[in-house]
């Protein structure tokens, strides 16, 4: 099988170790996100928004680092990257076409009664448990 002609000694093990270190740092940041977010929140930027943006933003960066450097997509033929991003785009399309029906539980002329009731039941059960339990086993460890 043809080897990468322009690859062999371009990157020693040290380069990959560096990428790995960056990935681990990003991982730690994403775990700290929910802890730090309430302290950064201000105005209309709520804590949960910061958590989500940080968590998924970091995930995208990590994925890019793995794809470009570990999978070596940055030196692969371009159309492979287009193929893979094309598939991702299809997933966005699927989401866009399906979410108005599944994510929303009401529209201009309709209402998903069963879902609304189920959400009600869930929220009520949680409120009751919270009122009941107080310092009960809400957390895992």
């Amino acid at each position: 099988m043809a080897d990468h002609q322009d690859h062999s000694d371009d990157h020693g093990q040290g380069f990959y170790l560096k990428i790995w270190a960056i990935l681990v740092v990003l991982l730690i940041l994403s775990i700290l996100g929910p802890v730090v977010a309430p302290h950064i929140a201000f105005g209309f930027i709520k804590a949960w928004m910061i958590t989500i943006m940080a968590a998924f933003g970091i995930a995208v960066v990590k994925a890019y680092l793995v794809a470009a450097n570990f999978m070596e997509l940055n030196i692969e033929k371009k159309y492979i990257s287009y193929l893979l991003t094309g598939m991702l785009t299809l997933m966005l399309l699927f989401f866009a076409g399906t979410a108005p029906d599944v994510m929303e539980h009401q529209g201009q002329h309709w209402e998903n009664v069963a879902a609304r009731e189920e959400i009600q039941r869930g929220l009520e059960a949680e409120a009751a448990a919270a009122a009941h339990g107080g310092a009960h086993e809400q957390h895992e460890h």
Binding site: G12, Q13, F70, L84, M91, E140, H141
Partner: protein
């Protein structure tokens, strides 16, 4: 397996070796499978605010440790590829073995995590969130196990200096498994 390799397999009109080209197409198909599942999860998660409470019971330390395990095993896979590129089958096999150990660790940690969660009553039929949690992480774990098995087979051949190009191919697959988890981690453990 006694079939000799056809001439067709050795041709490369695109310039990309056939095996690697095929792995990219495998990844393309896996993106839409996981994309469909995770997209469905996101839709439900956004539409069901009561899932936030259910989700708060996932353990970010288990999840984070597993993320670390996969990232490190990906590094090992890259080292294996590096060794194979230089024709060193024995070292490549060692690094692939290390990657497989990472896979086993991942599965082991997950088993411990799930056992705990099931004992707390968070079973797959408990509610919508946990359904998706076990299905998505479970499908991912199946891919981890399958990848580890394939990796061991390839490591065995690499040890004897054979089919070294396959080290890179299984590595690419493994990085994809890693990337899926990179997204599963915030979805299931951080977005509460």
């Amino acid at each position: 397996m006694s079939t000799t390799r056809p001439i067709a397999t050795t041709r490369s009109a695109t310039g990309i070796p056939t095996g690697r080209l095929a792995v990219w197409w495998v990844l393309a198909s896996e993106i839409v499978i996981f994309g469909g599942l995770l997209g469905s999860y996101v839709m439900h998660r956004i539409g069901h605010p009561e899932w936030a409470e259910y989700a708060s019971h996932t353990n970010v330390w288990f999840g984070g440790t597993n993320t670390f395990v996969l990232l490190t095993s990906s590094l090992f896979a890259v080292f294996a590829h590096h060794a194979a590129e230089h024709g060193d089958g024995k070292t490549a096999a060692k690094w692939l073995l290390a990657t497989s150990v990472g896979a086993a660790t991942f599965v082991g940690i997950k088993a411990a995590e799930w056992t705990g969660e099931i004992h707390h009553g968070y079973t797959i039929t408990a509610n919508g969130f946990w359904e998706f949690y076990y299905t998505a992480a479970g499908l991912h774990a199946l891919h981890v196990i399958a990848g580890a098995i394939i990796m061991l087979i390839i490591a065995n051949e690499a040890r004897k200096g054979k089919e070294l190009h396959r080290v890179e191919l299984v590595g690419i697959y493994w990085h994809f498994v890693d990337i899926v988890w990179i997204f599963l981690f915030p979805l299931l453990y951080i977005a509460k």
